[in-house]
């Protein structure tokens, strides 16, 4: 009887997740423009995708994006959280300041950076250009566009990690921290031998989630550059969107989405494995 309790969530899950997921998998093997009846195409969508140089550059951009987000915001979040833990004064104030960008809507954050910071006409970069600084809009240069978008997302994201890490750090037994202090541990030694080992499960979880989220990234890229200039900031999700809604090639869009899901599945596998190991311990 108690098994019936999972029925409502199971039904919701099936309708909202399972059915669309199955449809996406099926559509990856069909040629469909989103209007006319779909035609079975076998593996043609995958072949066309793998022959397309834009797909590989988008995949590479996703890998670069993941690497950036595994290092920069995690490092920034850890450093700021540790400092907040060790220094009591102004802790709440800084927590609010760091967390504030997280609660601002993505579209607003993106437009503010695009118009008020990066723009050479209406932004801070334009002002600095007038003073003689050789600054140019990173979103307009193929070599910098992806990093320009990543900077905006980092600004919006790292505060979240900081707050999560701080919450975890506060669970580290106070006696261990005091003992390390009495032993004369430096800040870095405290980090390496006491704090980081104490919150390792949280860091691992956040890093796995970062991998999943990085392959799903869409909003900032789409609003700021739409994947340009010249595909230089294209990622898999913007490619899928373009194929579905601009090229009217839903089959290839579904195939692209499946590739994104593969990376998500790999990360999920590791997450579940770590979770079950912890449960065993």
């Amino acid at each position: 009887m108690h098994r019936l309790y999972i029925l409502p969530t199971l039904v919701i899950n099936a309708v909202i997740i399972l059915v669309p997921a199955m449809l996406t998998i099926a559509l990856a093997f069909f040629q469909w423009d989103g209007i006319s009846p779909p035609v079975f195409a076998g593996l043609n969508n995958f072949r066309a995708l793998f022959d397309d140089s834009v797909f590989w550059s988008a995949l590479a951009n996703n890998v670069i994006w993941t690497a950036i987000f595994l290092i920069v915001p995690v490092a920034m979040g850890l450093l700021a959280a540790t400092m907040l833990l060790l220094v009591n004064r102004g802790r709440t104030f800084f927590q609010i300041v760091y967390f504030l960008p997280v609660i601002i809507a993505t579209a607003i954050t993106a437009r503010v950076w695009q118009g008020m910071i990066y723009s050479p006409v209406t932004g801070v970069f334009g002002l600095l250009q007038h003073t003689g600084l050789p600054l140019s809009n990173p979103l307009s240069q193929p070599s910098m566009a992806l990093f320009g978008v990543a900077t905006v997302d980092l600004w919006h994201w790292w505060g979240f990690l900081c707050v999560i890490f701080l919450a975890a750090l506060r669970q580290v037994p106070q006696e261990q921290i005091e003992a390390a202090r009495l032993e004369g541990a430096t800040f870095w030694q405290m980090m390496r031998y006491v704090l980081l080992p104490g919150i390792r499960p949280t860091i691992t979880l956040m890093m796995i989630m970062t991998v999943i989220w990085s392959f799903l990234v869409f909003d900032f890229v789409y609003i700021l550059t739409q994947g340009g200039p010249a595909f230089s900031s294209e990622v898999l999700s913007t490619l899928a969107y373009r194929k579905a809604f601009y090229d009217l090639n839903v089959g290839q869009a579904a195939a692209t989405s499946l590739v994104i899901s593969v990376f998500g599945l790999i990360a999920t596998y590791f997450y579940i494995r770590i979770q079950s190991r912890e449960a065993e311990q």
Partner: protein, 440 residues
Amino acid sequence: MRRLLSNALAVLLSAATYAGSALAQEKKPASWWYENAAPENQQYLKDLLVKRFNEVSKDTVLSVDFRGAELDKQLRIAMLSGSGPDVVYTAGPSYVASMAQAGQLLPLDDYAAKHGWNDRILPVFLELGKYNGELYALPKTYETLGLFYNKTLFEKNGWTPPKTIAEFEALAEAMKAKNIVPFAAGNADWRPTNEHYVSIVLNSVAGPENVYKALNGEIPWTSQPFVKAVDTLNKWWQAGYFGPNYFSLTGEQAFAQIASETAGMAPTGTWNFTNVPKYFKQNNAEPGFVGFPSAEGVPYPIYALGIGSTFSIAANSKNPDGAAQVIDYVFSDKFYGDMNTVWQGEWNTPLRDLTKVKVGDAVLPLYTETMRNLADSVNKNQYGYTTWTFLPPATNTYLVSGIEELWLDKTTTAEFLAKLDATFQQEKAAGKVPAIPARQ
């Protein structure tokens, strides 16, 4: 007696009310989903279309629902599930073929005959809305590409609007020498802006006859005239005609630069007439608009035709006659005059004869003159082809990003055109190329 009279009056009143409500009930609803529009423009639509149509229509009551910028996606899904509006407002002719093929649209030939659309609407647009010989769509508005310039700046420098590509390039160099950016251009808010320039060179350098042949599959897009056209555009980019901030400026910010004399000329579309009063007035400058210069061997001017959206009737509409009445009202001289008086550039319905149309005195004479010239040119079959109207979807989206690859040295003209042609041939084989009206 008084009581009897009052009772009789009450009965009469209630009978009249009942008759009125019965009449109102007899009016069948007709729905129309509209795209993104500024609040003042939404009000113009409510006042000049919905209210006036409902006053004159005896059997239909129109309602317009503003669906925002993602209308085409909502519409496609709604049409699939059979729950779309009566008046189908598509994103352009390339969508019409697929919808007609899927049986989602009603043929309009009988309505065209009944309402006299064949006589009132420019024939080329009727041809463009056909699929398998039947009429399925009418364009809401048509636009063209040309050259906006600042007359005041030109007079100050003794410049005249160019008519040939050689004159145009000489003028651009003269502007550069005076530290004026030759082109007022920016794609920060709309990346497909790139295709405006591709459309310009395809028509004014390669020529509309060659574009027509390529659209019909008679010559490939890799042919020499297109190589020359794309090379010319690339030469302009490399020479810095687009200025240093093309990827940073929005379309409106860029257009404002010709009024402020930061930029010299704007090769863009007639939709920018909506920005003319706003920026030229505040800079005390006089606007000018001419056809884009042509290369040797190509007639001048060539007006490339563009259609942003089209009207159709849903196959499962419960009030197709009412939907046809709504479309008919939009194609009336009165509606053209009323709407273009308050909202220019967005409601240039393809009426064959604009001499009977009365537009308000406050409207810029340059706008009305340009629209008349355009209608005359189309009537005489002197027109070109914009890529967003005549190319199938995947070819068009590749063109938008592919030209950036060329500009930024990530590909060559030959590679760009080869990929464009391969995508086009694939889509042509799949029947995704819109109907191309015969060239006389």
